[in-house]
């Protein structure tokens, strides 16, 4: 009567390995002997997968208690397994919101710190790391260490964006942001082409704290970069409706779609329809914050539309200001090779974060979903070369396919990061499938 299916641990894109996740309310207990701790599994690639030969990792999601919250300063301390969506919903009614949120609410605080996530407000607020004031980790040596900008700053800087490799995150302390109302005022504008897009992003940055663009990655030639720009800010109390935002109903994709469902034709059709769904003129409306920050979360398991073969996401940041035209050259290279993608997201990025491997830097971030096909690894390697040539880098939380030598060429900070690991984990007890692939960790 009991089906014994071999348990597997998977990345959001579908890549999986055999293994079990050990979860407990006592995170230190399960993490003590573990090679890695995992949050809610929203990294697309292999950064939250155990290295080859390791069959269990620790899971933080049951260690989800808020330990302290100061209602006047906004200082919050919580166990690393607190889910962002829960935290946001808990605090929204009290007019507080997390200072930086990524594109999904289904991440843990620990995961957010490990990836040093950025959001639609990166151009003003930076990454989550900027707002973190203290961290508590369980190191490879089994010690519980509190670190901050004053205490063990090397460990602190290595942990922001350190993909969980510097120690198991147990507790996170950060500063929440005061908000004037629990609603978002959103503006959408149809954009003609890439030049218009980049100009609009730069212009909107001055007046809008939240900006992001979706663009049609398959439109060719003159229409390259046709899409929709979203910008927003928290509504003032006068603009906001009197009622509080209600919990959103969520649909689920119940099963993997067949492989042929997402192909060049269907995606072009979708993109064409979506581009026209937004009115030509600038449209402004009040929007539920969950719809604004996490539109894809409305459909649970949306990753199943990519079928059983799954997908990967390629996200890079290109130093557009220093190398004008970098974004266009990258998009042209991607369009040339085909590879249907619903989602191509553009974000103007601001200052680089303190985290040694923190992803964003001034320029433009481009994120592309790529269905996993036979030629996808080759495509990813080719795109990585374009990124290297333009002086950009990739986002580890999305990556599954870039080559180790390519990563080294785009990441001069890696040496500092490895030095920090030499100090805190000389035996490399903590590793992931990704760190074995990219950093040369022992398998």
């Amino acid at each position: 009567m009991r089906r014994q299916v071999e348990p597997r641990i998977a990345g959001w894109g579908g890549i999986s390995v055999p293994g079990r996740e050990l979860r407990s309310e006592d995170l230190a207990d399960v993490a003590r002997h573990a090679t890695l701790t995992r949050g809610l599994g929203r990294s697309y690639g292999d950064s939250a997968l155990p290295p080859p030969g390791v069959t269990s990792i620790a899971g933080s999601s049951r260690a989800d208690r808020i330990l302290a919250f100061d209602g006047s300063s906004g200082r919050l301390r919580a166990e690393a397994g607190v889910a962002l969506g829960d935290l946001a919903r808990t605090m929204l009614s009290r007019r507080w919101f997390p200072p930086v949120v990524p594109g999904t609410q289904f991440v843990t605080l620990g995961g957010m710190v490990a990836a040093d996530v950025h959001g639609k407000n990166h151009h003003v607020a930076g990454t989550i790391g900027r707002h973190v004031t203290a961290l508590r980790l369980l190191t490879a040596a089994g010690e519980t260490v509190d670190c901050s900008r004053d205490a063990h700053p090397d460990l602190f800087r290595a942990t922001l964006g350190g993909m969980g490799l510097t120690g198991h995150l147990l507790e996170v302390e950060l500063a929440m942001t005061r908000i004037p109302s629990p609603w978002i005022l959103q503006e959408t504008e149809r954009v003609r082409d890439l030049a218009a897009f980049l100009a609009l992003l730069a212009g909107s940055a001055r007046d809008w704290p939240f900006t992001v663009g979706w663009l049609d990655a398959l439109a060719a030639g003159g229409e390259l970069g046709r899409g929709i720009l979203f910008r927003g800010r928290w509504a003032t109390p006068e603009e906001a409706p009197a009622a509080a935002p209600r919990p959103l109903a969520r649909r689920a994709v119940p099963f993997d779609f067949p492989g042929w469902a997402l192909n060049d034709l269907t995606v072009r059709l979708f993109n064409a329809v979506y581009a026209r769904s937004v009115p030509r003129r600038v449209a402004r409306r009040i929007v539920h914050p969950e719809k604004f920050f996490w539109p894809l979360d409305a459909i649970r398991h949306w990753n199943r539309i990519y079928g059983s073969r799954g997908f990967t996401q390629f996200q890079c940041v290109l130093p557009e200001r220093e190398r004008s035209g970098a974004t266009r050259r990258f998009l042209e290279a991607a369009a040339r090779r085909g590879g249907s993608s619903f989602l191509c997201v553009l974000k103007d990025c601001g200052e680089e974060g303190e985290g040694l491997l923190s992803f964003p830097r001034p320029g433009v971030s481009v994120a592309l979903d790529l269905p996993m096909r036979a030629d996808t690894p080759a495509l990813v390697e080719e795109l990585a070369e374009v990124v290297i040539a333009e002086g950009g880098r990739i986002y580890l939380a999305k990556d599954a396919l870039v080559r180790a030598d390519q990563f080294r060429r785009m990441e001069p900070r890696l040496a500092d990061f490895e030095r920090a690991r030499d100090r805190w984990d000389p035996g490399r007890r903590l590793r992931s499938a990704q760190s074995v692939r990219l950093f040369g960790d022992p398998a």
């Binding site: 079990r20 050990l22 309310e25 808020i66 330990l67 302290a68």
Partner: protein, 247 residues
Amino acid sequence: MNTVILGATRGIGRELARALAARGDRLFLLGRDEADLAASARDLEARAGAEPGSIGTARCDLLEPEGFAPALDAAARALGKLEAVVVTAGLFATQEALEADRALARRVLEADFSGTVLFCEEARERLLAAGGGRLCVFSSVAGERGRKPVVLYGAAKAGLSRYLEGLDHRFRAKGLITVCVLPGFVRTTMTDGLPEPPFAADPDIVARIALRALDRGTPKVYAPGIWRWIMLVIRLLPRFVLRRVGF
């Protein structure tokens, strides 16, 4: 409702406590580890927007019956009046582990049966003295029939279920509303590593069902409800079948 919870620091208890705190119930937490209790109390206060320190805690261990009365008295002092007592705490171990370790078997039997019953007796007296109230205790479908994988654990839970049924018959007219929750297989730290049967549930679902039963005063509820039918079938299976199957 003024509610005392034994077991709010983890698993189903944590979810149920959050649901109670979210709707404004005044809570008092009992458990084995004081630091853990304090962390859970701060979490519930933060989530409900309640004043820090408004949720009191006291040490209470199902294996230490002499501590039951002082713990419940502390709760009554803090809350003013006890209106509901919830017990989600308990110990679990596999049948193999229990057969191999007599001391473990003794602890599980004492915590899950005699300890829980004696705690409920203290709770019963205080609730009746206060004019009535609710006693919500988590048993398990494992007690519904003697079965190979849960001989000892199931026996303890069977005894507990029978006791709660007796309480319902004897004291409901006097104002003591007994609610016996029978979860099926729930994905918590307690069941980690066990092969998952069909109809396994997450703790938040079970907590929601328990909350509804607590409010309605339902004497016996399966969580999720489908387990009522599953256990009905299992109870009807002939002995020679149960001797042969693995479950």
